[in-house]
């Protein structure tokens, strides 16, 4: 991940902080349409009618272009909606935007995350459809869809295929063959084994015997003999059942404290 560290604090751009914005709740079907619409077309018209002495009426009318955006088998959606206006009470709602750099950006100057304050929500509008035929049909369809059970009964016309039991699975056979090809573990020269061991212990301090056997490819009995000479076996819990070099053999760069943060090491269960 080449992205900049996520936990650095960023300045919140407050140039728009004082701006009042509207929070509009729209039905999902409108939101779907709007999502599909491209950014430059008009998706609808907002009409504010102010009658003196009465509350202002706000209505939303979707554009033809948006209504035309539909796939097959999709219902007509109502065109006009009423917007109910309410004020925000008991809470302070703000809107901020978060710009994340595109992960595939190959710009020379790497984009950084940016935060903008987009304004304060001054009014809440709730988009309500007029209960006309179109809307009712839409609802009817959605109810029908919802009432269809997710699982359905299917009749089978033939026997479902079952698998015969196998005495020896394929990967077992493969594994056995591989082992055979490797042959028996041969006792290597002791110096060579020691070399391998020291190399391994350079990388890590603690090893399980099985891992060492895998690395050095020596029989465990033989390996143990050697290990007893140069290594200590840990019986206690941080690094239990693990081998480490005897102090006189080890020279780690910063042999401060062999990380005493204890964890349960149980190694008898895996592989």
């Amino acid at each position: 991940m080449s992205a900049p560290p996520p936990h650095t604090d960023r300045e919140l751009d407050l140039s728009n902080a004082g701006r009042g914005v509207w929070l509009v709740k729209v039905p999902k079907y409108i939101a779907n349409k709007w999502e599909k619409a491209s950014g430059d077309i008009e998706v609808g018209k907002l009409k504010i009618t102010k009658n003196p002495g009465a509350k202002a009426e706000v209505s939303l009318r979707l554009s033809e272009a948006v209504l035309a955006l539909k796939e097959r088998e999709e219902e007509e959606i109502p065109k006009a909606h009423r917007l109910d206006v309410t004020t925000v009470t008991r809470q302070m709602l703000g809107v901020f935007s978060h710009v994340t750099p595109a992960s595939t950006s190959d710009a020379i100057v790497p984009e950084t995350e940016k935060l903008y304050m987009e304004g304060r929500i001054v009014q809440k509008l709730e988009c309500r459809p007029y209960a006309d035929n179109c809307y009712m049909k839409l609802k009817l369809e959605s109810i029908k869809r919802a009432s269809v059970p997710q699982r359905q009964v299917q009749q089978l016309d033939r026997v479902v295929q079952n698998f015969k039991p196998v005495s020896d699975h394929k990967h077992n056979i493969e594994y056995a063959e591989k082992k055979k090809a490797e042959g028996k573990k041969m006792r290597d020269d002791k110096d060579a084994v020691l070399e391998m061991l020291f190399a391994a212990f350079e990388k890590h301090q603690y090893y399980n015997i099985r891992d060492l056997a895998k690395i050095t490819r020596q029989p465990i009995v033989y390996l143990k003999e050697i290990l007893n000479e140069v290594c200590n076996y840990n019986l206690k819990n941080p690094h239990r059942n693990m081998w480490e070099l005897k102090p006189e053999y080890r020279h780690y760069k910063d042999d401060q404290k062999p990380a005493a943060t204890a964890t349960k090491v149980d190694d008898s269960d895996d592989d």
């Binding site: 729209v26 709007w34 504010i48 008991r90 703000g94 994340t100 990380a259 943060t261």
Partner: protein
């Protein structure tokens, strides 16, 4: 129905129309930040605001992952093994996503407020939210809102831990200054080198100063009020007591008749009392009371309670439940009661001289107290009576008279109550045992039996009357009581009674004692060449 606004033939409908666009910018995501109104957040007044994701890496990883990957201290194949181990337990670890962490918002620079914004789910489940803003060209731009974050202030001061709070609470009236308290705490923390943000002390000062003064005043007031309360209540108590005494003196003779009435009265008073002062600890401090507890009084009280209630069943049941503990406790109480005597006993009669001195002292002090006590005794009686109604014994058992009063009391005009107070105790275990038995046999006339018992108590000293015994306080019951408690030698026994104001010479005492012992016929056993006398509890 549609597009009514335009065609409406209204008066002067001013119609404004805006076209809405949905600009596409996949990188820019709009989110809502929600603050509670009480926080008084004003975006336009924000100056320097920084936001960051909370770093929960540590928590995600857990504490045990602080191991080197290579070199010293590292294990070979540790990660894989851990993973396998987790999988075995059915734990599939999810990747840590920094973009899912809460927001931390800091406003007003270093010393400003801090908020934590936690994502809220389910807001846009059934509907979509858009934010409408004005574009420069007059159109409206709609941006979908993705997430809702609920921002809450982060406490920038440290609260006391449970233990610290307890400690401070224990000296709540002494601590005048809340501020100094917190200051001290902070100093302590500084010593420990804890991460104490310096902005806390700077930023919080302004606010805290105001708060401090207020706090200070309050606490002082509290103290005054407390003390006032105490004083007045104790004064009142005294007054009450005095009046009660007077009442007592006057009415002593007609007492029997008026008792019931009086009780009622007292009860009322008691209830008033209760209403007036909440029983705080320390409220009792003002009153004078003896700490040498005399169980007998409380017992007598119990007895009286029984009489009042005349429901022996309940008591018996209680006894049945706790007969053992009761007798045990009684023993303890009694031991406490004449603690001085016991102390002496323990010294095994070696320091007789000293003891006698002690006794003399006791006597003297008793004499001194005598007048007071007499008064108090009467007071107590009243208190007891008032106490009968509400709670049985615990409160008043503490301020009961010492033993030496009893004979005197007996001489005075209330032999009955005194006797009961004296004599009830030793036999009580027996009673309880008896009750137990009876309960088991299931006889219904428990109350009757109790009455018989009571009669027994009263008649006991009469039947076993020895010359000079009753006046001196040496009764069969007293002896029984001592012997029941623990085995003791005759000398010890005598010592017990010597320590009291018997007014008898030692020969007389011995005489009386031998008579009583003959009557009781206690179990004798010799330990270390000394004959110890004892009675079984059931021995009755």
């Amino acid at each position: 129905m549609s597009s009514t606004a335009v065609t409406k033939p209204g008066a002067v409908p001013s119609v404004q129309e805006y076209s809405i666009r949905v600009p596409k910018n996949s990188k820019k995501k709009h989110n809502v930040m929600r603050f509670n109104a009480t926080l008084n957040v004003d975006f336009s007044k924000w100056s320097q605001v920084k936001m960051e994701r909370e770093n929960n890496m540590k928590e995600y990883k857990g504490m045990d992952e602080e191991m080197p990957k290579f070199g010293a201290g590292s294990e070979f194949g540790r990660d894989a093994r851990e993973e396998a181990r987790r999988k075995k337990f059915g734990i599939t670890s999810r990747k840590y996503k920094p973009e899912d962490q809460p927001w931390i918002l800091k406003s007003g620079g270093k010393t400003g407020k801090k908020f934590k914004g936690i994502r809220e789910g389910g807001v846009s489940e059934n509907a979509a939210y858009y934010v409408f803003t004005h574009a420069p060209d007059g159109a409206i731009e709609a941006f979908p809102l993705h997430e809702w974050y609920n921002f809450q202030p982060i406490q920038r001061y440290k609260a006391l831990s449970a233990e610290e709070a307890e400690q401070e609470f224990s000296r709540r009236n002494r601590v005048m200054n809340y501020f100094s308290l917190m200051m001290r705490k902070r100093m302590r923390n500084d010593d420990e080198g804890a991460e104490d943000d310096p902005e806390l002390s700077e930023g919080g000062k302004g606010k805290k100063l105001g708060k401090k003064e207020k706090e200070l005043k309050i606490s002082e007031m509290d103290e005054w009020m407390d003390s006032d309360d105490d004083d007045s209540s104790s004064d009142e108590d005294k007054e009450k007591k005095n009046s009660e005494e007077e009442e007592d003196d006057k009415k002593k003779k007609k007492k029997a008749k008026e008792e019931a009435q009086k009780k009622k009265k007292k009860k009322k008073k008691g209830s008033d009392d209760e209403a007036f002062e909440e029983s705080d600890d320390g409220d009792e401090e003002g009153r004078e009371c003896d700490y040498i507890s005399d169980s007998s009084d409380s017992e007598s009280e119990l007895e009286q309670q029984k009489e009042i209630k005349s429901v022996a069943e309940e008591d018996a049941l209680r006894k049945l439940l706790a007969s053992d503990e009761d007798s045990q406790g009684e023993e303890n109480e009694e031991e406490k009661k004449d603690g001085e005597d016991d102390k002496d006993d323990d010294e095994d009669n070696k320091d007789k001289d000293e003891k006698e001195k002690d006794n003399k002292l006791n006597k003297e002090s008793d004499k001194k107290k005598d007048k007071k006590k007499k008064k108090k005794q009467s007071k107590k009686k009243d208190v007891k009576k008032s106490g009968i109604g509400k709670d049985s014994s615990s409160d008043f058992s503490s301020d009961s008279g010492s033993d030496s009063d009893i004979p005197r009391e007996k001489d005075s005009k209330k032999p009955n109550s005194a006797q009961s107070s004296r004599s009830v105790t030793p036999v009580l275990p027996g009673v309880s045992a008896d009750c137990f038995k009876r309960k088991q046999s299931g006889s219904p006339d428990l109350s009757q039996s109790k009455k018989i018992k009571l009669d027994n108590f009263n008649s006991a000293p009469v039947t076993s009357y020895f010359p000079g015994a009753s006046e001196s306080g040496i009764t069969e019951d007293a002896v029984r009581r001592y012997l029941m408690r623990k085995p003791m030698t005759t000398t010890e026994l005598l010592q017990k009674f010597k320590s009291k104001k018997t007014g008898l010479t030692s020969e007389q005492l011995v005489n009386v004692m031998t008579q009583i012992l003959k009557k009781i016929n206690p179990v004798k056993q010799t330990i270390k060449n000394k004959m110890y006398l004892s009675i079984k509890a059931q021995h009755n």
